[in-house]
Symmetry: D2
Subunit: 352 residues, 4 copies
């Protein structure tokens, strides 16, 4: 397929459909409305279903139902809408069902604003709801990457039987870039023999469930889930190293912020400062091992569109060996390459 120029929100929808997603349940919220709008137009053409539900809670529970029947299904929303979906996501994780949830993040807390943000890092990576579970979280920095990640997300969801998040910000949702839809490297996906597809009287009914009243059963279930999460941590972490081989000042940033920070890295290098960037492409599993590949790092700085959330993972990675700094803008304010560079130099001024 040749490259086509698409808006991020629409490209995400198209990517889902290319992955065989025929079902979308959602509720409107800025700045992601182009995505459900696109699905509402396109899904009926392929015999799929788009449904605007009564509420975010209804929508995620429809996702739960469709996923239980073995269908590829997606929902999307923006920050407070995703907050409302947290209980449902926990149910889907507990029932071990595949589903893809897209969060086009806006500022918070509460209603917050409608401009780009990365302030849902905690909610996304620490399981915003109850219980011992995690969800893989993809964080694209370009529209092409959003497309690729959505397509991979469906495979990962099916392979591990888990809900998968794709978190972007309004920048990526609203921006237009040329994209190509190419199938992801194919995983060996098993038939969904667990799905509730009707027995035809030929087998025992399958049961979709997240309730385990016997503590020992529930603990066994959690241990099984945990083993799965460890497997994901081993196999599915993704990150990009940008000019880090010799880097002394290493930024960590994802999504739109990473795109901006690359400019900072280039600019600093022109001034003779050996800067580099670790860009997590998966937020969970977080690329802890990337921090073993920066032998010359003397300073690390987490750059975020939030008041400092990913920095916790950075600190967990660094374990006190190198000073960890922070630069963030929030509430829809977007950091500039210069301001980031400025902050880095301020640190270096102090550190040198």
């Amino acid at each position: 397929m040749a490259k086509v120029l698409m808006k991020g929100n629409e490209a995400i929808g198209r990517a889902a459909m290319e992955s065989g997603c025929k079902y979308f349940f959602g509720y409107p919220i800025t700045p992601q409305n182009e995505l459900p709008e696109y699905m509402s137009k396109e899904l009926p053409k392929i015999g799929g279903v788009f449904l605007q539900a009564e509420s975010e809670v209804a929508a995620i529970n429809m996702v739960y139902g469709a996923a239980g029947s073995g269908a590829r299904v997606m929902t999307s929303s923006s920050s407070p809408g995703i907050a409302l979906k947290q209980e449902g996501i926990s149910y889907i994780a507990g029932a071990e069902l595949p589903a893809v949830i897209v969060n086009i993040m806006r500022g918070g807390p509460g209603l917050g604003g409608i401009q780009p943000s990365q302030a849902d890092y905690f909610m996304s990576t620490r399981g915003g709801a109850n219980g011992d579970y995690r969800t893989p979280v993809y964080a694209p920095a370009t529209i092409q990457e959003a497309v690729d990640m959505v397509m991979e997300a469906f495979d990962v969801a099916d392979y591990y039987r888990t809900p998968v998040m794709v978190v972007a910000d309004g920048m990526i949702g609203q921006m237009m870039e040329p994209v190509e839809f190419k199938a992801p490297k194919r995983r060996e996906l098993k038939e969904k023999t667990w799905a509730t597809t009707g027995t035809n009287g030929e087998r025992k009914p399958n049961i979709i469930n997240s309730l385990f009243l016997q503590p020992q059963q529930l603990e066994d279930h959690c241990i099984r889930l945990d083993a799965k999460y460890k497997e994901i941590e081993k196999n599915e972490v993704q990150y990009e190293m940008y000019k880090t081989e010799d880097a002394e000042f290493v930024f960590v940033a994802y999504g739109t912020t990473a795109r901006i920070t690359k400019n900072t890295v280039d600019a600093l290098r022109e001034e003779g400062i050996k800067a580099g960037l670790i860009r997590p492409k998966t937020l969970w599993p977080f690329p802890f091992k990337a921090f073993n590949e920066i032998p010359n790092a003397k300073n690390i700085m987490s750059v975020e569109m939030s008041m400092g959330q990913m920095i916790e993972d950075v600190k967990l990675a660094v374990e006190g060996r190198i000073p960890v700094h922070f630069y963030g803008r929030t509430g829809g304010m977007i950091p500039t390459p210069d301001a980031i560079a400025e902050k880095a130099k301020e640190v270096l001024g102090g550190a040198r």
Copy 2:
């Protein structure tokens, strides 16, 4: 007031009323039903309101409304119910309103089970919903402490204008112990001039809001919130050090798990192993500084009724200086002192 023998869930309700809480909105879920049941009987007697709402979402939004009018208000639920309330909590945090939310934790994810659990640590301490916010989290280990903490929670909520969580587990909710209701050390609480109490035409209307459409306004708001959270981190952290002065093997545990682990500490000491316990009484702010008071520690072990959540804060505290181990049961399984000791000795066997 003399000591009275009370069930945990009811003592929590009584403590709220002693603090001047006249409003309770909730939705039933095991294992916390004795708390709303108690409130439904007692609140009307003092001219208060108990209301069973249509849903958890409705309940937390009623809390939002009552808090906005300046009233002392509480809700309670258990894990998946609290998950449903996350969006509302984020609104309350964003609108800077005082409210107390009690979570009698059960196993998860999803519906999980109804037995005691501590698997909502992430949801409680990382703000389960969207945006840059935190909520103070109290974790009582006895019913007396539950009472004291609920009473303090109302003051802290008012003082900082923030929702406050009290997280316990079914053990504490169901158990009976003698308790005393004594007023907490009095903070200087300001009049709630911000509350929407009707203007009588004498002032401009107060507005309760979490929406800030201008990014710069929202960022300013988040920075103001962040300053408040830093203040809370400085002033409100609470923890107990149990035999830690000379401890070489330091456990970290809270709530019921801490109670059990104290027995482990005592047993190990009888065997000549210098054990101790750091018990966080506030989960956020986490007692990072407690880890500066264990000069002899050679091993640290996070003991949890979950698959390992608080251990992240422990690692953030320790910064790689000491090995951090983990022992957990989950899904309603309760660790025994012996099993914890066993695990510790296994570590020591390996470490010595």
Copy 3:
């Protein structure tokens, strides 16, 4: 108590409180918002509860709950909001609970408009929901009457253990008139021994219920209800006869329309036409017997702010003995005395 000048919506609220109503559950809709607004301000002052629910459905079910506990409780809404409450009203009728429901009618169907209307006659008098039940329906024509009827409605609700409707239109809700609050003639009201007020372990729990799975039980229940409705038909019908003794042209009209039609009657009489008016004050039970008191009637005309609904009851009353005509405006259009007179003369022109 002396007369005070009040807006209709507020006077209705005050009347409820004077009747001992301490609980109000509702959801906002034009043109009745002054009523809940008034209750929200006044009820807390007397230790009562005003609650804005999540939805009309939630509100009526809260009324169901409060009524079950024996409290005097009211809700109000306008036409489509009342439609949403129909199922709940049927439950309250089936469970034989007292409650007062105010409908400040607006034009329909659907969202319709926000101007005065009487197009909910069928929904009000034929039980808009499922099953064999009726609700007494009061239709005030002045604010004083609205006050008196609300006060009586609480007594009637308690006496017969039934939901009672008070239907007015936006005219009456918005208009101001001087009113007096005087207790209605006192009925012998029994203690509510059926209410779920807590047993204190001293009696068997009371059960509030509308479910009867055994058909014979349900039929017995319906027969009991029917006997009650017959009792109400016998005792509670109310109407006003205006210049009907010698009337040859008899109008039938209620509420605001009746007020207007009185002017028509007077005007026609000045022109030598012997006009009169039957004004139903209760729509159910309908004043069938009033039609026995118009010996000279040669024509009857139902005047409504709807496309013709009450006319069915008029025809049932008249049983073909006298021609029944119709004049109506709808959608918020208010008939003028002249237009009604015109229509009457048109009929007479044809009939003479």
Copy 4:
């Protein structure tokens, strides 16, 4: 198509699909669950959508949405569930959209019971919700008739742009009979140029709406609707006359009750009593004119599975010319032919 043996509920579903209905939105309630269950299995096979909504209210609003897009859409429920849908039906009527609503009636009021009933006559024929509107109501007495009526209902809905009800009782829903699916006599159906199908930028957007804020606009709209209802009254009334030519004792009954009453007619005739039956097949429009075709009638008896609702229409038809009697069972009790005959003879005993 040859005859197939089918359960009533399933035959209704199949009939809808044969009519081109591809969308079904509903919420479970006994005794109609076989219908949505059937649709959930069959609709996906033809690229249609079955969706179990969050609530009855959500379901009817999805019907509203699908109807607005020009699709053939159906929902079904039972009595209290239909009560919850009333507001939505009023919106659909106000917005002039075609949709088919099936009510498999159970006893009421409130939750009532789950056995067959006809106690929703008022709710069905008087528009259970707000405003000036009517819905055509089909009342099948056999499964074949249910099939034919559902198929015709879709055409009538499209032709007049109106919601159409099909009301049956649990007897018809649960019973099995051989049925044939033959297309109804074809009406001239216009293209749905009013549907919101996307403009492709080639026309002005269509608007689906039931809100008219200008009273004159709303009145004009109601007058237009009324003209449509008059047209339906003229063209669409359906009834069966059973042995009425010479009948002196005329029963009026519909649905299952009519089936039973036919046996009564035959039995009475064997005893020499000239009995007959008027069977309304449409409840609205009611077959008033059928009452002009019973020249010898001396007594009329409305037989219902309710406490007496249709009897109002019977009285409106008879206008006092002939005595109107009543026999009813309710709450799930089904009248026997003998008991009906008994009641008739009791009347005759008194009348002769």
